[in-house]
């Protein structure tokens, strides 16, 4: 899985490409989010339009990061999940815990 990170208007925008699943991809995701939050960046947008697979380990890592961001006064917002990822998040009833946007710019702006 490829993870790219950029900062826009004080918000960390993370783009995931590939598959967020058990093993190295989840480890990489977890480390990236922990590092950002530890550094004081808890306002985070995750772009999912090129992530075509997320398993339960990926969901677990997302939920853990979400809780951590909240504890540090921020939150995580999602952008454009693909069909299967959207279905997966909906099936386990976590999709509605997140604000979901169709583009990163709107997600970033929503932080005010």
């Amino acid at each position: 899985m490829d993870i790219s990170v950029r900062k826009q208007s004080g918000v960390q925008v993370i783009k995931l490409r590939g598959e967020l699943k058990l093993g190295e991809p989840v480890n990489q995701f977890r480390e990236t989010l922990e590092e950002l939050i530890r550094a004081g960046d808890s306002r985070i947008v995750i772009s999912l339009d090129e992530l075509h697979f997320m398993d339960s380990s990926g969901i677990g890592a997302l939920m853990r990061s979400f809780a951590s961001a909240k504890q540090h006064g921020g939150t995580i917002k999602l952008v454009n999940p693909t069909k299967l990822v959207m279905q997966t998040l909906k099936l386990v009833s976590v999709l509605n815990l997140f604000e979901v946007f169709t583009d990163s710019a709107s997600a970033v702006s929503s932080f005010g």
Partner: protein, 142 residues
């Protein structure tokens, strides 16, 4: 017809099995997108067999059998039956809590079995939980 995958209980060994079964579903003419649902269910099932059934011990083996029949040209694809076995102590599937109740929604684990049941058309366990049987109708999405 049958495909047989026996592999060391290592999470790195899961991806090639999932990939091959996804390709098979497409070769059999599944509804577009069904191969992705099947891949996710299989990923979860094999991960459970490796982590919980085999304790991530690469000295142990996970067995995976995929049974299918090719449909006549122009007719709907048949179902796929997948049987996964591990050599662990077993467990009670009925005792696994729902990931959708109370604080479980916010948990960082515990969703795999639920996803399998939602994405496959039939799921059953045998041999004290060390054998998982799951069937997928390929002609429609869940």
């Amino acid at each position: 017809m049958e495909l047989q995958f026996d592999f060391k209980a290592d999470i790195e060994a899961i991806a090639p099995v999932v990939q091959r079964v996804s390709e098979l579903a497409l070769e059999l003419g599944c509804e577009p997108g069904r191969e992705l649902q099947l891949s996710l269910a299989l990923q979860e099932a094999l991960a459970n067999a490796v982590i919980h059934g085999s304790n991530n011990d690469a000295a142990r083996t996970v067995e995976c059998r995929v049974s299918y029949a090719e449909a006549a040209p122009g007719s709907k694809p048949h179902d796929i039956l997948i049987v996964i076995r591990d050599s662990g102590p077993g467990f009670d599937p009925a005792a696994v809590p729902s990931p959708k109740t109370g604080e479980n929604i916010h948990a960082d684990h515990g969703r795999g079995l639920y996803l399998i049941r939602e994405l496959m058309d039939e799921v059953s366990f045998a041999r004290n939980g060390t054998e998982l049987r799951m069937r997928a109708v390929l002609s429609k999405l869940r």
